[in-house]
Symmetry: C7
Subunit: 250 residues, 7 copies
Amino acid sequence: MNRNDQQAYDRGTSLFSPDGRIYQVEYAREAVKRGAPSLGVRTSEGVVLAAQRRTSSPLMEGESIEKLHKLDDFLGAASAGHVADARRLIDDARTAAQRNRLRYGEPLGVETLTKTLSDEIQETTQVGGTRPFGAALLVAGMDGDDPEAAPRLFQTDPSGAPQEWRAVAIGSGRDDIQEFLEDNWSDDLSLDDGIAIAVQGLFESDDELGAESVSVATITSDGYESVSEDAVAAVIDEHVDDETDADDAE
Amino acid sequence: MNRNDQQAYDRGTSLFSPDGRIYQVEYAREAVKRGAPSLGVRTSEGVVLAAQRRTSSPLMEGESIEKLHKLDDFLGAASAGHVADARRLIDDARTAAQRNRLRYGEPLGVETLTKTLSDEIQETTQVGGTRPFGAALLVAGMDGDDPEAAPRLFQTDPSGAPQEWRAVAIGSGRDDIQEFLEDNWSDDLSLDDGIAIAVQGLFESDDELGAESVSVATITSDGYESVSEDAVAAVIDEHVDDETDADDAE
Amino acid sequence: MNRNDQQAYDRGTSLFSPDGRIYQVEYAREAVKRGAPSLGVRTSEGVVLAAQRRTSSPLMEGESIEKLHKLDDFLGAASAGHVADARRLIDDARTAAQRNRLRYGEPLGVETLTKTLSDEIQETTQVGGTRPFGAALLVAGMDGDDPEAAPRLFQTDPSGAPQEWRAVAIGSGRDDIQEFLEDNWSDDLSLDDGIAIAVQGLFESDDELGAESVSVATITSDGYESVSEDAVAAVIDEHVDDETDADDAE
Amino acid sequence: MNRNDQQAYDRGTSLFSPDGRIYQVEYAREAVKRGAPSLGVRTSEGVVLAAQRRTSSPLMEGESIEKLHKLDDFLGAASAGHVADARRLIDDARTAAQRNRLRYGEPLGVETLTKTLSDEIQETTQVGGTRPFGAALLVAGMDGDDPEAAPRLFQTDPSGAPQEWRAVAIGSGRDDIQEFLEDNWSDDLSLDDGIAIAVQGLFESDDELGAESVSVATITSDGYESVSEDAVAAVIDEHVDDETDADDAE
Amino acid sequence: MNRNDQQAYDRGTSLFSPDGRIYQVEYAREAVKRGAPSLGVRTSEGVVLAAQRRTSSPLMEGESIEKLHKLDDFLGAASAGHVADARRLIDDARTAAQRNRLRYGEPLGVETLTKTLSDEIQETTQVGGTRPFGAALLVAGMDGDDPEAAPRLFQTDPSGAPQEWRAVAIGSGRDDIQEFLEDNWSDDLSLDDGIAIAVQGLFESDDELGAESVSVATITSDGYESVSEDAVAAVIDEHVDDETDADDAE
Amino acid sequence: MNRNDQQAYDRGTSLFSPDGRIYQVEYAREAVKRGAPSLGVRTSEGVVLAAQRRTSSPLMEGESIEKLHKLDDFLGAASAGHVADARRLIDDARTAAQRNRLRYGEPLGVETLTKTLSDEIQETTQVGGTRPFGAALLVAGMDGDDPEAAPRLFQTDPSGAPQEWRAVAIGSGRDDIQEFLEDNWSDDLSLDDGIAIAVQGLFESDDELGAESVSVATITSDGYESVSEDAVAAVIDEHVDDETDADDAE
Amino acid sequence: MNRNDQQAYDRGTSLFSPDGRIYQVEYAREAVKRGAPSLGVRTSEGVVLAAQRRTSSPLMEGESIEKLHKLDDFLGAASAGHVADARRLIDDARTAAQRNRLRYGEPLGVETLTKTLSDEIQETTQVGGTRPFGAALLVAGMDGDDPEAAPRLFQTDPSGAPQEWRAVAIGSGRDDIQEFLEDNWSDDLSLDDGIAIAVQGLFESDDELGAESVSVATITSDGYESVSEDAVAAVIDEHVDDETDADDAE
């Protein structure tokens, strides 16, 4: 379909093109690809979330561009894409988690939360008068502190279709990072293995990252915890730079 | 009607073209054809649903792209097309089934459920400000556990017109699969025959499927049951590969 | 008026063209003409409804494409055109009939029902944001089981104007069938005569019909009754094939 | 103003053209002119309404295309134009008449009813999202059975401007009929004179009418009464054919 | 600004053109100029309203095209422009006058009424989804029967800006009539002088008027009174024909 | 930006142009510039408002085109631009002042009133479906009769941004008048000085004004007072004509 | 993307362009760049806000174009861009601060306030029928008078994405000012250092500023305080002119 024909169908979420596509949803996916990457790695002990933070000035507080978000005691999310859209989804996720606690006295499940968000997202793709969300989320967590609870990792996309993953990346450089994850993920990873793979993964998209541009968090049966910048630096030292040296040596 | 003329009438569900067509509904059917195929086979013992799962990465959890859905004890559905739209219809179906149990204390009938969904779908094709659903569903079930209850299999399409079938396919490769079903269906099929035909049907559209890409479920007077991947693999071994060998032998 | 000028006025139900036409209503009538034909014949004993069913596959259950509908004990309808639109009108008709029974404890009259539906249809042709219904209905019945009650036969069209008929056809081939009815209808027809004329009428539009593609129902002071496929086949044997033979003989 | 310029202003009731016209209202008047004619004649004893019925098939029941309508004991209306629109106005008129009786225990006045309808019509010409009514009505009556009550005859038009007339025609051939009425009306007409003039008037537009195509009704202090087809035929015999013979003789 | 540029800004009341104009309001003023003229003359004793009635047929009742309207005991109005729009404003004026009496037990002031109408008119020029009123009104009256009450004469225009006048004309030929009024008005006119000037004024626009085409009414401390056709004829005889003779003599 | 590009962004208040402008607001400012000028001068004793009245006919009552408005005991306003829009803002200002007295038992402050109006104006520039107000106001007053109260003078503009001024002009010829005010204003002006400067200022835009075309009002701790036409004439005699003579003498 | 293609996607906040951008948000950022600059500097003692005021006439009261706003005892804001939009956000901020005090009896936190405003802003970028805010805010404050409370400085942008900064500039010349801040900010600045840097920063964008065009305010644990024009002049004398001299000397 050429550009002129495409333009006939891409101005609204309430239109199909003749070949059955919804262009505004596809364009929203482009907005996701414009954002710095985030990724998630499910390990035997919990889920690791990692993201690259892009600062436009050294005077910006890094936390204010934080892309990892604690949603509830055992729920976290990473985002990529249009920042303000991601914030709104994160807010909605937190509200849903709180409401569940108030109503039912128990934590919201990872899958239930993901589906709630997906419903909200799908709505924006079918009804006129609004645009889709230009953001994707990784929703990760344990279903409470039940020792039996298994780690879960989901992704939402601008169409509103949720997917469950063992490990997944979103945002710029997504394909390279995903390939790395496919090569390195196994189902017996420890949490530390997961952190190493997560950090290495981000370097697939940008090999000049400093520790201050990398956020890492874990969700285990101990809850949501941010990994300190020092710890991230240590991982980079051990896993990334070595690897680079090794590459150089070849 | 040439492309320019067609474009005059295809930007909205609230418009007829001069020859009495509603293009947005036809484009939504294209969205169904873009999806991996699903099919249903009614047998003397119950209904078999089968679907192809497409994964974009080996790290994706297959269940999250599951296209077969248990709706209630004796109700199931298969979907094809725009995934997020299908999810919303599935959610609405589950809500309708639950509500019926709460209000009337009895399971929702297969035909009633299909008509409820069709009403919802038709609404999106007549009123402005929304697009049609880009998904088709196969709704299958027994009307409760009544030993007299007969298996039923319905299809919804983006126009909102429900149809009852003995065996039917939706999604990509639909025509080839349907032709296979027409050649092989008979009204004295056992459930196992139905499973075999269902799995063989999917191979009409894509002859390189592995057992992990094929979902099968049955709804009988024993309720909704998923067929295990091993059982599916056995069916492929017995029915598909043999057939292929046979083909090769000729 | 040439095509370009016409296009200036045909994109909305809330627009008149310079010559006082409402094109969307005329296009909706085209949708009716695309559908398989239905017809009604009023006899001295009751009304006969008949319709052609088109199946896209031998695996489709014929009833799911049924075009004759029992609305209430003494009320029935036949439809032609956009199937999902017709279904919605049929649903609304049934709801109106039930509501009348609940509120007033008596059956809804044939004329009252037709006017209720016509009001609903007219509304869609004047207010923006919706399209007309792409379906026509034949509404037939007796006004209850009163032995004095006379058979009545009405038609709704996409403009919302109701008409009462002695015999009438809608859908594809309508003009040929109507001509046949005009030549053969008389006001002293028995019910059996009516059935014969109705079935013969359908063959005016398509002379290769089988009994399984023909639905016939009657509404008399005994209520709504479907005519069995065998009985239909007998009528075809007696009246249509003979006629064809006769034709051949000439 | 040429066609292109006109098209810039004729797509909505909420737009004036540069020369101060509302084209959609003018196009709705074209819809009135497309309809078979109706006329009203005020006599010293009451008002005569007459209308031509057009049937598309001899199997159509003439009454279902009736263009004369009893609204209340002493109120009647004739219509021309888009049939479904006229029906809605007639329904609204009946509802207004009933409501007046319920609320105030007395019949609705002819002028009050006309103004109520005109308000409804004007609304559709100023507010967006709807089209004007493509129908005109003649509203005739006595203000109750008060022996003093004088006959009144009003017309509504698609702009919503009501007018009172001694005699007036609407619909196709309106100009010729009106000229005939102007030549033949006088204020001392008896009811029978009025019926004769009314029937003759219709023949000005179409001189091949049969009695079955002509409806006549009268509203006097005795109430609304339809004139029988036989009586109409007698009038045609006496007044029209004679006249035609006379014409022939010249 | 050329026609193409103008068309970019004249399709809606909610748009300014680059030079700060609201074209729909200006076009509505054209609708006023298309209407037969009305005028008002304030005298020391009260206000005179006069208007030309245009009949399209001698069978039309003149009153039904009356352009002078009693609003309340001491309030009257004359209108010009789109008839149905004027009617609605007149209705709204009457409702406002009645409501004032009900709520406050006293007559509505001339200025207050004018401002109420102007507010309603302005609203239609700023909010989308409606068009302006294509009519202007002259609102005249005494503020009750207070012997001190002075006569007042106001005009509303399609922009919603009210103006108070000593004498003013609206409608076709407005400029010529206004010039005549400017030449002949003085602040010591008697009511009879005012009537004479008013009638003469109308002949400035159309010098072939008959008495039956001229409406005159007065609002004084005795209330609203229509001037009889005979009295109007006498005025024409005395003032207009003399003048014409005088003109001829020159 | 050329005309074609500009037209892409100037049809709605809910659109920014690529260079960050809101054209409809800029066009509304053009509407202000089309209006006769108004000005305000703050003096040590109070605020002087002055305005030019444009009459289209000598029969128009000057007060009905009054551009100076008493809003409350110590609050006044002058307007320029689209008259009906200005009236609505003036009405809203009076309502706000009354409401404040009713609710809080004290007069509304000048600044608070200005901000209330500005909020209303801004709303029209951001939300679709309406146009901005094509009028600017000068809002002047004392904050009650408190002897300490200082005179205040504010301006609203079509964007909704309020500004406080020592002296300011709006409407046609605004730049010349403003330059005159800048040259002649000082902070020790007496009220009479202010009146003289105000009147002289208006002559900067139109040096042929008569006293009847000039309105002047003052708001001091004694309240809002209109300056009589005689007093205005005296000021013109003393200050303007002298000046003109002086100019001539040069 | 060329201009024509861009125009296809830039007319509405509810549209993504094919490369995933929301043009109306980007155009709103242009509106921010058109405004006079504002900046904020976080110091160890509190936050310094500074802004350039642009007056179009010496008669304008500087305060009415004030760009620094006290929001609550320990909360302040600076703005840049479309003035009326900034005012509305400031009003909303004040309302939020008051409401928090009323509901919870405690001051609103700086971050919470910023996120509340960002939510409001994001909403305007996703839902149709409105445009984004053409203004950016710097929100600064202490979280109450808690001696432990740390100074915080946030920025909102037209997309609705909040950011926390150590020092940041918005508006025209933003890039030059930001570069200056990056070169001169350190985390041990005293409040006086902060004031000096803030004032110097503004001169990066316009080196001809006078003290009367520069607004400075501080928010410390002593609350919000405006810096007097004399104090600003002293800072300019000491820091800016010296620097300029120094520059000259080089």
